[in-house]
Amino acid sequence: MKELGLDLGLFVSQAVNFLLFALLLSMALVKPVMRQLEQRAERIKKGLQDAEEAERMVRLAEAQAQKLVDEARHQAREIVETATRSAEQQRQEILANARQEAYELQQRAHEQLAREEAELQFELRDEMIAVSLAAASRLLEAELDDEHHRRLVQQFLDEARKLPVERT
């Protein structure tokens, strides 16, 4: 050792001093630092977990919001479709009722017209018969001579004698 210029006692004492210094340093400084680092790492990890949780919550909220929007759209579409169907049904009913009323009115008008036409025909024919009767009466009155009258009276007597006999 001496040939190398080293003093063993000094070397040992220096080594012991270094080990003591390292031990003290470790106890006084490294451990708190390590603990601080661990705490910080823990906080960072927790922060990351919180961020992930927040992101997950945000995604969940977005999904729920999207679901609500979809449901609302679906309901709105159903409401619109229902209202459209109802309106169409009402329109069809109104049209059907209007057509039925128009048909009945037309039928009544036709029947009334036909009745009036028939009544007019009855009246016209009655009038024609009355006129014919009057004309025939005048013609007979003018054309009948005494011989005709005599024969008509005789015809009356012949036919009356054939009637059932009445006794009082």
């Binding site: 036909a114 009745r115 009767l133 007979l140 009155e141 009258h149 009356f156 009356a160 004698r161 009082t168």
Partner: protein, 102 residues
Amino acid sequence: MDQSTNNNAPQASGEDLPRALVRSAVPLDETQRAAILSLCQEHLGACSSISFEVDKAVLGGVWLRIGDTVVDGSLAGKLEQLAHHLREALREALTYHRPSLT
């Protein structure tokens, strides 16, 4: 020849015989009047009296009423019957073609 009787009228007794009325378009001669009187007594029942009237509306033939019985042998009556049948036939024909109108 049309004969009609009101059956609801009270029957005449022998002392209360009905009067007969005869209408014709021209005056009837005695023979015709006698024949009608005979007709009344033999076929239509006895009558207390018989009156003869001239009515141009009869047109021809004889219209006779004795009590409630009317025997219409006049041309006017025949024409009226013809007109009645014509009216009924026309009404039936029209309603046959249009049954909804009845």
